[in-house]
């Protein structure tokens, strides 16, 4: 009886030993060399696997970063939008290179076609998918360029950074946004754009993508860009161009002077996170923004000035509290 146990142990042990020897030689023969820095880079990355860098996942980015650093001695064109400059510095340190600072970006929703500004003309019932609705019809308010409000961008966001505002029916970006660009791709109407975050989150942009002439654009939505060209004329930095009746502000050239916001007859140009404008003649100390205001500013991107008349005449006496009120209404 004892013999049987001993024999089995010996046979199995022997087999294990032989296999181990074979495996050892095979493993050393077919060994694939992998740069250990790839693992290190991957470790440094945020592991969001969002694809915002243009590679399918963080591992692929790490492989490419190490390969490019080895072959081209630079990290140009590689940027992790989620980790930002901090992570890129770490990556650069691992591969022994230096990187340029990237200005932080944020997704910006360029439509203000709320129910109040663009009243519903038809009702939509059906699949909640912007892509489907875009192929089917122009939109409840009638604007064929505007937001359909069915939330493809919300579904695409991996960072919980974009949500539908149930009151306005428009998506709102909060400060969790990493500028990965998933919502930009998901939007069938190219309404969302990645723009520079700006100093202290200050941004100016045209909140409209309507390429129609003024009359039909305005017919569907009272805050549409009508392509009048006033902002283009008033801009001292050549930051604004008008193509097919739509103004576009180049965020690289914009100096945030807010002159365009003042002249826009339809309030289509938005200023975000600026201090409330003080009444013209008054000379006061700049109002200090409290934390609550700040919160609201980041949560709701809002119109700076409301109530300008058609002619663009000076009627801009919007004081702090009202300014915020306007925002919460939007």
């Amino acid at each position: 009886m004892n013999n049987v146990i001993l024999i089995s142990v010996a046979v199995l042990g022997g087999l294990g030993l032989i296999s181990a020897v074979i495996l050892y030689f095979v493993a050393s023969k077919f060994k694939v060399y992998e740069d250990p820095r790839i693992d290190e880079v991957e470790e440094a990355l945020p592991s969001a696997n969002c694809g915002g860098c243009g590679f399918p996942g963080c591992r692929a980015f790490a492989e490419n970063a190490v390969r490019q650093a080895k072959n081209e001695k630079s990290l140009d064109g590689l940027f992790c939008p989620v980790g930002g400059n901090e992570v890129m510095q770490k990556v650069a340190a691992i591969v022994g290179l230096e990187v340029e600072e990237h200005a932080p970006m944020i997704a910006v929703v360029r439509c203000n076609g709320t129910a109040a500004h663009s009243p519903d003309k038809v009702n939509f019932e059906g699949a909640t998918s912007c892509t489907f609705a875009n192929a089917l019809y122009s939109g409840e308010g009638g604007c064929q360029y505007g937001c359909l409000g069915l939330g493809d961008c919300v579904a695409a966001c991996e960072f919980d950074a974009i949500h539908m505002n149930p009151e306005t029916g428009l998506p709102v970006v909060n400060d969790k946004c990493t500028a990965c660009g998933a919502c930009v791709i998901a939007c069938p109407r190219d309404i969302i754009e990645l723009r520079k975050k700006g100093p202290r989150d200050k941004r100016i942009f045209v909140s409209c993508v309507n390429k129609e002439k003024g009359a039909p654009a305005k017919k569907n939505c009272e805050v549409a860009c009508i392509g009048c060209g006033k902002c283009e004329k008033v801009c001292e930095f050549d930051a604004i161009t008008i193509t097919s009746f739509l103004a576009y502000i180049d965020f690289e050239k914009c100096k945030l002077c807010r002159k365009c916001v003042e002249v826009c007859p339809t309030s289509a140009i938005w200023e975000v996170n600026f201090k409330p404008r003080k009444p013209k003649a008054e000379k006061t100390v700049p109002l200090k923004k409290n934390e609550e205001d700040k919160m609201q500013n980041t949560v709701t991107q809002a119109i700076g000035i409301k109530g300008q008349s058609q002619t663009g005449s000076v009627n801009k006496e919007v004081v702090g509290s009202e300014h915020i009120k306007n925002k919460s209404e939007k």
Binding site: V122, E125, G126, T131, F132, L136, Y137, S138, G142
Partner: protein, 446 residues
């Protein structure tokens, strides 16, 4: 009478509601202004040839189809071009159109607008196709595929049968039915022209059995036209789909992603046959069509002959106005039609009907969970699994949707009609088709 022919897979039988079946075709007066959209056919939009202030006559070429799949466009009225502008189309999108202010009713020279039947055919196949192309004829069933492209049989293939589609399986619509009753001889000559263009000697006119008067009338007429036969088919939706009709009439199955020419068939609508007759024998381009205005609450359900570009509100007025409780205006039939954005939308070459739906019928029911009852699979005439495809599209699994042949879907809506949980299956199928189509195009570009 034995068993009637029909297709084997799936199909449904919605209530027919052919309210306007016994109403004669009325010729509608010309409106004071028409809007002729430039993109009325499947494929590339036509290119405008007129400019603001130009005088045009009815039947004059105003836009030409430049690319391969494109069609000519003619002025439906005589008058002055008011402007070239974007007008709201059925889906609410603003698309380019020619707007013409009507002034009298002068016709271009050489167009025969009398009712006299000209049955002598003395043109070759190429000449007929050329005339069809010049006249800007597109598929009148609603798909608006340019007819001349369909008549040019690709090299290596041979057409054996011409099938004339007089099925009109959509509930409510009666435009084709009335056309068959009132323009029978013209349809016969049109069919013969199409046969000659395709170089085939057999043509079958398929008509659903709910139109016995049309079947009787055309069977009688067919006796004096060689090669044409009339075949009644069972009433089943979507028999008017060309693949279903071929299966029903000839028991041939068009392979997945292939065209009917693969099994030696070309399918044309009866309306197209009539338009071909007018174009070839009378030199009259496609500038008017028959359209049904119907609905349960409509005071006078009617069939109208209208000029292309007439705003739909004129038709609704002619049918004695919009009923008070209208919830939806549908362009086309209730199954495949699309809710219209406004009643200012103009009639286009592909408009087959206007259905005014009462409020209580126009809303969707609340969606429930899928209980895997497989009713949609049973109803699908293409043998697909709609619930699976819809789920794949919903979950962005477009690779899976493609593998499960989503592109074979003919968007007939049978699945959604039959779904007990009211799941918007067709919506998701359309979404999937949209995405998968984009992927396939991107792949071909590479």
């Amino acid at each position: 009478m034995g068993f009637l022919k029909t297709f084997t897979l799936g199909g449904i039988h919605p209530p027919e509601n052919k309210l306007s079946a016994n109403k004669f075709i009325e010729v509608l007066p010309i409106p004071p202004r028409v809007m002729v959209p430039l993109g009325q056919n499947l494929g590339a939009p036509s290119k405008a040839l007129v400019k603001r202030g130009d005088k045009v006559k009815a039947g004059q070429l105003i836009a030409s189809g430049e690319s391969f799949i494109s069609a000519n466009l003619h002025s439906p009225v005589s008058g002055t071009v008011f402007k070239l502008d974007n007008v709201v189309d059925a889906s609410g999108y603003r698309r380019p159109a020619v707007i013409i202010n009507v002034d009298g009713d002068k016709w271009e020279d050489g167009i025969d607008i009398s009712d006299k039947l000209i049955s002598d055919i003395n043109l070759t196949a190429e000449e007929i196709i050329q005339k069809v192309k010049t006249a800007g004829i597109v598929g009148m069933g609603g798909a608006t595929f340019p007819t001349h492209v369909k008549l040019m049989v690709p090299p290596g293939k041979k057409a054996e049968y011409l099938i004339i589609n007089g099925v009109e399986c959509e509930p409510y619509l009666t435009a084709d039915h009335r056309l068959m009753l009132e323009k029978g001889p013209e349809i016969m000559v049109g069919t013969q022209l199409l046969m000659r263009a395709l170089k085939v000697d057999k043509a079958i006119i398929g008509i659903e059995n709910n139109k016995p008067d049309a079947i009787g009338h055309l069977t009688e007429l067919a006796k004096s036209y060689a090669g044409i036969s009339v075949q009644p088919v069972m009433v089943k939706y979507p028999q008017g789909g060309e693949k279903q009709l071929i299966k029903a009439l000839l028991n041939r199955e068009v392979p997945s992603t292939k065209l009917p020419i693969e099994v030696g068939c070309v399918v044309q609508n009866v309306g197209t046959a009539f338009a071909v007759y007018e174009a070839v024998q009378k030199n009259k381009p496609l500038i008017d069509r028959i359209i049904t205005v119907t609905g349960k609450a409509v005071k006078k359900p009617s069939n109208f002959k209208v000029r292309i570009g007439t705003p739909l509100k004129f038709l609704i007025e002619a049918a004695e106005g919009l009923p008070e409780n209208t919830g939806k205006i549908i362009g086309g039939g209730p199954m495949m039609g699309k809710a219209l954005f406004s009643e200012d939308v103009p009639v286009v070459k592909g408009s087959s009907g206007i259905l005014l739906m009462p409020v209580e019928e126009s809303h969707r029911k609340e969606e429930g969970p899928c209980i895997r009852c497989s009713k949609c699979t049973e109803a699908c005439p293409m043998g697909l699994e709609p619930f699976l495809l819809a789920r794949a599209a919903r979950a962005s699994r477009y690779d899976m949707a493609e593998k499960e042949r989503i592109m074979d879907c003919i968007e007939c809506g049978s699945c959604q009609y039959t779904c007990p949980a009211n799941i918007p299956l067709l919506d998701y199928l359309r979404l999937g088709k949209n995405k998968v189509g984009g992927l396939i195009r991107a792949r071909h570009k590479k």
